[in-house]
C-alpha cells in the first residue's frame, strides 16, 4: 500500500477538497455521496446523467470515461460511470446512477462520451439496465435472441437458450436489401486470417472502399466476470486474469487484479516483490508488443513474412525467461496477494545472465525490425496517414495504451498513477503525434526499448538486494473478507492500455460484482472511426494496429 498510494494526509485532504469542489459543480443533481475507495462517488438521478457527465467533463476536466459498471442490488439497479482525467488519472470520480427495479431506465451517456456506446450496450446485455437516448441499444456480447440478462439476480441459468444460426448470423440482413444495390455487404470474420481471433466485422463496401464497418464481438465471451464472482479473493481469482489478454500479457493482467484487491483489503506488498513484479510485467509487455508488431506486419505484408517469425523468435526468448521465473509460458499465475509466489529461480546469477543476454541482443533485434518494417518505404506508404485517429476522438472513445499514445495522448498509468516500482525507476513515456497506423507501430517498437530500460534497472536492483530482505510475500490471512459494500475501481497499464477492475464486496470471501474494464474493448470501438471511407487493406491494417485480443474484448 505504501507504494501504491501517495499516502500522506495532506494529499488526502486535497483529494477531499477536490471532491467537494466537484460536488459543488454538479450539486443540484447529486442526491447523496457514495464514495468508493479510489474516488468520490456522486449518486445522481437517472435523468441527469448527461448533465452531470457533461459538466464534470467540461468543468472538472474529467475527460476520460474509463468504464461503465452496471450491477443489480436487491432493491435497485446501479450504473456506475468511472471518470478520470487524461491529464491526471489520479483525479477520479464515480457517478452512480441508481434505477428502480421495476423500471431500470437511465439516461445514456453516449452523447457525452462516445465510449459509453459499447459500455452501455454491455451493461444492457449482461445486467439489463436500459439506456434512453442511446444511439443503438442492442445486445453486444450475447446473441440477439438471448433470453434474460445473465448477470441479473433473477437470471435462470438452467433455462435453455435457443440461438438459431440464421437469425444470429446476420441481424442486418434486412437492412441490406434497400441499399441501392451498388454496395456490397461483406462479413469479415469471425474466421478470417486478419481478424486476430474471432472478431466479426460487418462491412459495407463500395468497390474497394469501406463505407461502413460495424464490429460484432462476443464470440469468445467466457463469462470471466461471472467466473471471478464465483471465486474467492485469496487464491481462485488470480489464475483468471492470465486468460483475458492471453498472449503473454499475463503478469500485467494479474497486476490489475492484485492492485484492486490489495487496495480493497489493505494489503502491503514488500518492496522486493514489487521489483520482481515490475520486472516480470515489463517482460510481458515486451512479449506482447513483439506479437503485436509481428502480426501487424503480417497484416500489411501479406503472406507469411519473415518479420512475424523473427518477432516470435524474440518473443520465445522472453517466454523462456518468464518460464524460468513463473513456471509457465502464458498462463503464469505468478502474483499472489501481497507479493509473488516464488522468488527468482536458483541459481540467481544464471537467471540474471539470461535476462541480460536477452537485453543485450534486443537493440540488435530492434534494429532489424526497423530495417524490415519502419524503414520500408512501401510500408510507410501503406501506413502513414491511414487509420487516422485524432487525439480528441481517441479521448472520447476512451482509447488508452499505445493506441492513445500513437495519437499523441500522453497517458500512461505507470507514470501518471504510479504503482509497483515504476516511480522509482528512470524511463520515459513514448508518444507519437502521427495519429496513424505508422505511429502506433512506432510507439510499440519504442516502448519495447523503454521496457528494456526498466528491466535492466530492476535486474540491477535485484542483484544487489540484501539476502535477508528478500520477502516475496507479506503476511496475508488465508481468507479475505473485505468489509461489506466496499467498492474499488483500480486500473493498471496493461499491454494494450488501461486495464481496470471494479470490485464490490458484500462481506463474503467472493466479490459481489467483478467488472473488468478491458482496454481492447474501448480501443476496438475506434475502428469504425479509423476505417470508414478507407480501403479494405487499410481496414485490416488499422485493425492490426489496434492490437486487440479477443479474449480481452469479450472476456
Amino acid at each position: 500500500m505504501s507504494l501504491e498510494e501517495p499516502g500522506p494526509d495532506a494529499d488526502a485532504a486535497a483529494v477531499a477538497r477536490a471532491a467537494d469542489e466537484m460536488e459543488a459543480l454538479v450539486g443540484e443533481h447529486v442526491r447523496s455521496r457514495d464514495d468508493h475507495l479510489n474516488a468520490p462517488g456522486y449518486v445522481v438521478r437517472p435523468d441527469a446523467v448527461q448533465d452531470v457527465l457533461g459538466t464534470l467533463r467540461e468543468e472538472a476536466n474529467l475527460d476520460h470515461l474509463s468504464c461503465v459498471t452496471a450491477q443489480e442490488y436487491e432493491d435497485r439497479y446501479e450504473s456506475i460511470y468511472h471518470l478520470k482525467s487524461y491529464d491526471d488519472p489520479t483525479h477520479e470520480a464515480s457517478v452512480v446512477v441508481p434505477t428502480p427495479k421495476d423500471d431500470p431506465r437511465s439516461e445514456s451517456a453516449a452523447p457525452v462520451f462516445r465510449t459509453a456506446d459499447w459500455h452501455e450496450r454491455e451493461a444492457y446485455d449482461l445486467v439489463g439496465v436500459e439506456y434512453e437516448d442511446h444511439p443503438d441499444l442492442r445486445r453486444i456480447l450475447l446473441p440477439e435472441t438471448w433470453q434474460g440478462h445473465p448477470l441479473s439476480l433473477d437470471y435462470d441459468q438452467e433455462r435453455p437458450q435457443i440461438v438459431p444460426l440464421r437469425e444470429h448470423a446476420n441481424p442486418l440482413e434486412d437492412d441490406q436489401e434497400g441499399d441501392e444495390g451498388e454496395t456490397m455487404y461483406l462479413n469479415i470474420g469471425p474466421h478470417h486470417p486478419a481478424t486476430h481471433g474471432v472478431l466479426h466485422l460487418k462491412t459495407t463496401l463500395d468497390g474497394e472502399q469501406v463505407i461502413d464497418v460495424d464490429p460484432d464481438i462476443g464470440y469468445l465471451h467466457r463469462c470471466e466476470e461471472q467466473l471471478c464472482q464465483k471465486s474467492t479473493y485469496r487464491y481462485q481469482i488470480m489464475p483468471y486474469p492470465d486468460r483475458w489478454d492471453y498472449i503473454s500479457a499475463g503478469l500485467l493482467n494479474e497486476w490489475a487484479y492484485a492492485r484492486a484487491i490489495e487496495d480493497m483489503a489493505d494489503i502491503e506488498v514488500p518492496e522486493y516483490a514489487q521489483v520482481i513484479r515490475t520486472m516480470g510485467a515489463e517482460l510481458c509487455r515486451i512479449a506482447a508488443h513483439m506479437l503485436a508488431v509481428g502480426t501487424f506486419a503480417l497484416d500489411v505484408y501479406g503472406d507469411f513474412t519473415a518479420i512475424f517469425m523473427y518477432a516470435v523468435r524474440d518473443r520465445e526468448k522472453v517466454q523462456n525467461i518468464l518460464e524460468d521465473l513463473t513456471g509457465q509460458r502464458l498462463m503464469f499465475n505468478y502474483f499472489r496477494l501481497g507479493g509473488v509466489v516464488w522468488d527468482l529461480p536458483d541459481p540467481r546469477e544464471e537467471f540474471f545472465e539470461s535476462i541480460r543476454d536477452f537485453l543485450d541482443h534486443l537493440p540488435g533485434s530492434l534494429e532489424e525490425y526497423h530495417d524490415l518494417i519502419s524503414a520500408n518505404e512501401i510500408l510507410q506508404v501503406r501506413t502513414v496517414d491511414t487509420g487516422v485517429l485524432p487525439p480528441e476522438v481517441a479521448k472520447s472513445y476512451g482509447a488508452t495504451g499505445p493506441v492513445a499514445r500513437g495519437s499523441g495522448v500522453d497517458y500512461d498509468l505507470r507514470r501518471d498513477d504510479p504503482y509497483g516500482y515504476y516511480d522509482e525507476l528512470d524511463w520515459d513515456v513514448v508518444t507519437e503525434d502521427g495519429m496513424d497506423n505508422y505511429s502506433r507501430l512506432l510507439v510499440r517498437l519504442r516502448e519495447v526499448e523503454e521496457s528494456a530500460k526498466i528491466i535492466e534497472q530492476c535486474v540491477d536492483l535485484l542483484e544487489d538486494w540484501p539476502t535477508d530482505d528478500r520477502t516475496i510475500q507479506s503476511n496475508v490471512p488465508r481468507t479475505i473478507r473485505p468489509d461489506d459494500d466496499t467498492e474499488v475501481y483500480r486500473a493498471v497499464e496493461a499491454a494494450k492500455g488501461e486495464l481496470g477492475i471494479y470490485m464490490r464486496s458484500d462481506g463474503t470471501e467472493q466479490p459481489a460484482r467483478f467488472k473488468i474494464r478491458s482496454p481492447c474493448f474501448s480501443n476496438l470501438q475506434t475502428l469504425p472511426e479509423m476505417s470508414n471511407g478507407e480501403y479494405i487493406p487499410d481496414l485490416v491494417a488499422s485493425l492490426g494496429s489496434l492490437d486487440i485480443v479477443l479474449g480481452e474484448v469479450d472476456r
Binding site: 456490397m184 501479406g302 503472406d303 519473415a306 517469425m309 501503406r382
Partner: protein, 371 residues
Amino acid sequence: MTGGDVVLQTTNATNATGAGVSRPPSAPLADSIAGMLGLDGVVGAVVGGLIGAFLIANVMLTTTAIAGPWAKRKITASFTDRIAVNRVGPFGLLIIVADSVRLLSKELIVPDGVDRPAWDLAPIVITFSALIGFAVIPFGSGLQLADPETGVVFVFAAASIASVGVVMAGYASNNKYSLLGGLRAIASNIAYEIPLIVTAASVVIFAGTLQMSEIVAVQRQPLVTVAGVTIPQWFAIVNPFAFALFTLANLAEIGRNPFDLPEAPTEIVAGFQTEYSSVYFVLLYLGEFIHIFLGGAIAATLFLGGPAGPVLPGFVWFYVKMWAFFLFTQWARSAVPRLRIDQFLDAGWKGMLVLSFANLALTAILVGVIV
C-alpha cells in the same frame, strides 16, 4: 483478350518485314524429334510436336511439383529461420508425393450458386495459359518446341490469358472475396501489361527480331572483354534499367509480392481461389507456379541470355535462371509489403508506364547512335 489481337497483327507485320531474318541455328525440338523418328510432312510435325509438347509439359510439371509443395516451403523457412518439411523422405522431398495424393483425393466441394461452366473452366484456362507459353521458350540444348517468328509476342499473349482464367474463377465462384480478387486481377493486368510489353519491345529494338532463338543468339555476342573475361551482350547488362522495370512488371503480372493483390490472404482470404478445393485447387496452384516459372523463363530469355553460360549445358543454365527468378519472388515475399490497390494502380500508370515509354525512346536513340 487483347493478347489475341497482338498475335494476329504482329504476325502479319513480321511476315511482311521479316524477310531478311535468318533461320535459327538449331532446329526446334518438334522438328528434331520428327527427324529422329524419320517422319516428315504433317504427320511428322504432329507426332514430333506431341512428343515434344509432352516432354516440355512434363519438365514444367515436375519443376512445379518440386517448387510448390517443397521448395517454396524450404525457401520460406530459410528466410524465417525455420527448417520446414523434413519428415517424409530425404529433406522432406517425399512431401511432394504425399501432398499430391492428399490434394487429389480430397472431396470436390461445389459451392451453391457457382456459374458452372466458367467455374470448371477457370482452372484449365489458367494451367493452359501458363503451359502453352513454354512452346516458344528456348530451354537450350535443343529443347525448344517451336520457334515461330513472333515468339515474343506469342509468349506474352499466352501468359496474359491467365488473367481471363482468374477473372472467370473470381466471378463464377459466387463469393465476395473471389469477386474482389478477380477484379483486382484485371486491374493489375491492365496496369502492368503495357509496361511489360513496352519494356520487352526495347529488347526487340536491340535484337531486331521477335524470334526467341534470334534474341538469344544476339545476346551471345560479346559486349566487352575485361581482363580476358568476355562479358556477353546480355540485355540485363546492356540495359539494367529495362531489366529492373521488366522484373517489377513481371512480378505484377504473375501476382507475387509486393503485387499479390488478387490473392492478398490477409485482406480477401485467398482471393479468386477461395472456393476451390481438391483437384481444381491443385490446378490453380499449379497454374500459378508454372506462371512464375514462365515469367522467369521470359526474363531469362529476353534479358539473361537464355541458356547461355559457361561449362554446364545450356539447359541447366536456363533452368538455374528460372529458379533464380522463382527464388527472387520468394525473397520479395519475405520482406516486401503489399501495396494497396489504388497505390498499385498509381504506381503502374504514373510510374511504370511513363518509365517504360521513356526506356523505349532512350533505347531507340541509343541503338540509333550505336548502329
